[in-house]
């Protein structure tokens, strides 16, 4: 089927609920309304109010109760309506979901797929455009995924549903309906922790994910550049070997994400390249991200999110240093 990311995710959730009777969806407005982006559309009618559950408006309890469900035999798929509201549940994620397995030496597991829309570019209100992947990755114990296209979105969500781990599944709102792609009808998995080489070339490597994959591809194509573009897909744990193998080939690396530059995932990736491949490099590793302050009001967002001009500028800086 040719479909956008919303429909691919909806289809994946449908298959997950069909496959596992202990799987449920819970969150704000996920029921009759089908979620504010309609990712859960139709699932309430198909599976009923016991499996597609409208919760009270309280994020900490959405995650806290999901943890309780997960440790007692269920496989919850909580939705936080926007990643900017996940901070209310941060304690449950950092203090509990991330560490139940380690604090019980594996006795208690938290199989849970926490979905939330991330990133901007769609003119929303404040707090609706956050990119918190580095916050969640830094904790350890949480798998952090972010797809960049409909095919990956479905396969990664299905993979997440088969894992015995808490998975933070970040869905870029801008990509929900941006483009369509051929997506298989049935079950398939996209592996966790494996980056995808979406463009092959010789001169430099762009390491990116989520909303920045497509503009990176466009800049490379429009300017006839020869570059590897690596779509990480899973941010934690990082596919370090894919990163290093590309950088060793090209000798130049640009790490690109929408999240603020400072202390972002890019810093982690740049540091790993520096530690392990310094002598393969022809120039210092470059980073490009949103500016190092919180996401602005929507009227200013186009000046904050890295655009193609800034990507091209960073590539030139990379090639000329």
């Amino acid at each position: 089927m040719i479909t956008n990311m919303v429909t691919a995710l909806n289809n994946a959730l449908d298959l997950c609920l069909e496959e596992n009777s202990k799987a449920i969806i819970l969150g704000e407005d996920v029921g009759k309304d089908g979620g504010v982006f309609r990712v859960t559309d139709g699932l309430f009618d198909k599976y009923g109010p016991n499996r597609v559950i409208d919760t009270p408006l309280a994020e900490s309890s959405i995650i806290g109760t999901s943890i309780g469900m997960a440790l007692s035999g269920m496989h919850p798929f909580p939705e936080i309506q926007f990643a900017g509201f996940s901070y209310l549940a941060f304690n449950q994620l950092a203090a509990h979901a991330a560490r139940y397995r380690s604090r019980t030496r594996g006795n208690i597991k938290i199989p849970m797929v926490l979905r939330m829309p991330v990133s901007g570019g769609v003119k929303t209100l404040e707090h609706h455009s956050e990119s918190p992947e580095a916050l969640f990755s830094h904790i350890g114990g949480l798998v952090v995924m972010e797809p960049s296209n409909p095919y990956d979105a479905k396969g990664m969500l299905i993979k997440a549903s088969h894992m015995d781990d808490p998975v933070i599944f970040l869905e870029p709102t801008k990509l929900y309906r941006l483009f369509k792609q051929e997506v298989p009808e049935g079950m398939y998995e996209v592996p966790a922790g494996k980056a995808n080489l979406v463009n092959e070339g010789d001169d430099f490597t762009i390491i990116t994910y989520g909303t920045m994959v497509r503009p990176a591809q466009e800049v490379v194509k429009e300017n006839n550049l020869s570059a590897d573009i690596l779509d990480l897909r899973t941010i934690n744990p990082l596919d370090e070997s894919a990163i290093l193998s590309s950088v060793r080939k090209t000798g130049r690396a640009l790490v690109l994400h929408e999240a603020p530059l400072s202390f972002g995932a890019g810093a982690e990736i740049a540091a790993r390249i520096g530690e392990k491949s310094l002598y393969d490099l022809k120039s210092p590793v470059m980073r490009l991200g949103g500016f190092s302050f919180p996401y602005p009001f929507s009227g200013d967002e186009d000046y904050w999110v890295p655009n193609k001009n800034r990507i091209l500028y960073s590539i030139k800086k990379l090639m000329n240093s």
């Binding site: 806290g64 469900m69 269920m74 397995r101 019980t104 006795n107 208690i108 922790g193 370090e240």
Partner: protein, 357 residues
């Protein structure tokens, strides 16, 4: 026009007074003498364990620890009232539910020494580890209760928390969630009057903690938390109710923290001894002993036998905790369901270069 649209009230229950006298009209019928003696023994063992861990901490043999002294009736009366299939979510002071559930004593000791092995079989006992992050246990417990109901199990969930924890947002969120989905859960508020150095009066302007349940549409009762019979009855009745589709329940048990918050603080710094003194004759163990003795169910030689037995159990656990060693490799094995390459590399580097020797 103004009309009243809601009013609520909270009742307080005491069955056994400070002298061990009983209100027979409330005495739970299933609590026979065998069970009462068992409860008495559990409460004593709990206090002996608490005293021993305190001593071991002072010797530097175990780490920071929250003593339960004075609060034995709340913990024993409630955990004992539960079926083994009922889930218990304890907090950092709730050592008695572990003992009553049959978790080996050495596991408790090992937890206090700081090794995760302590909790490596809790799920099979329908327990979670002791929750340290105050208040966060409530929403998880509500999730477990949801899970029990969803999976059509006939069991309920008991979650503990202190007076301070009722100020946390998760307490309200959990009661609210439990109310909306009418979950089989009992919140036991072990109101020991102190949250480290902050008294109950500065925690909330609410007259009782139990009444916080009323706003969420839950049932609630306040009990004398040093009266193990009242705690047992309140819990048993609440369990019967929630298992038969009754509203979720909040039980506020009034007790007193006789010692420090944990081994890291000195209560004389923030509360006068004169406040502690009136609680001494209310001691929950003493009270039950008076009742048992006056009913010829207990005597000095039984007391001596029990103390000896407790000592041998505790000595055995102490020997085991002294032998317990860290297992740093196990830390790496239990982060994810799989071993990420980057984590494996950190572990390999540590192993190859003897970081842990």
């Amino acid at each position: 026009m103004i009309k009243e649209v809601f009013n609520g009230s909270i009742k307080n229950m005491q069955i056994m007074d400070e002298d061990g006298n009983i209100d027979n009209s409330l005495f739970p019928k299933d609590l026979d003498s065998k069970k009462l003696i068992e409860l008495y023994k559990f409460m004593n063992l709990g206090r002996a364990v608490s005293n021993k861990l305190l001593a071991l901490q002072r010797l530097g043999k175990v780490a920071t620890f929250a003593p339960l002294n004075g609060e034995e009736a709340v913990q024993a009366g409630s955990a004992y009232a539960a079926e083994e299939s009922d889930f218990i979510v304890p907090t950092f002071r709730n050592h008695l539910p572990f003992i009553i559930r049959g978790v080996p004593l050495e596991n408790l000791f090992i937890a206090v020494k700081g090794y995760e092995e302590a909790y490596s079989s809790v799920l099979q006992k329908h327990l979670t580890p002791e929750v340290i992050a105050v208040g966060s246990q409530y929403t998880q417990a509500a999730g477990i209760a949801f899970s029990m109901k969803y999976q059509k199990y006939k069991n309920a969930v008991i979650v503990y928390g202190g007076d301070g924890s009722t100020s946390e947002g998760d307490f309200y969120e959990a009661m609210n969630f439990a109310g909306v989905f009418n979950l089989p859960i009992i919140f036991i508020i072990e109101n020991n009057e102190w949250a480290i150095s902050v008294p109950r009066s500065k925690q909330t302007a609410s007259k009782t903690l139990a009444q916080k349940a009323v706003a969420a549409g839950l049932d609630a009762i306040q009990v004398d938390g040093n009266d193990v019979i009242a705690v047992y009855k309140a819990t048993k009745d609440a369990l019967d109710s929630v298992k038969n589709s009754g509203k979720p329940f909040v039980i506020e048990a009034l007790t007193y923290r006789m010692g420090m918050h944990t081994t890291s603080d000195d209560p004389t710094k923030y509360r006068p001894e004169s406040e502690v003194d009136p609680w001494k004759p209310k001691d929950p163990i003493l009270r039950l002993r008076k009742y048992l003795a006056s009913n010829k169910l207990w005597n000095d030689s039984m007391e001596e036998d029990m103390q000896n037995q407790n000592k041998s159990l505790i000595d055995n656990a102490t020997a085991k905790v002294n032998e317990a060693k860290a297992n740093p490799k196990a830390m790496f094995d239990n982060v994810y369901s799989f071993m990420p390459e980057t984590l494996k590399e950190e572990e390999d580097e540590a192993l190859k270069n003897n970081f842990w020797q």
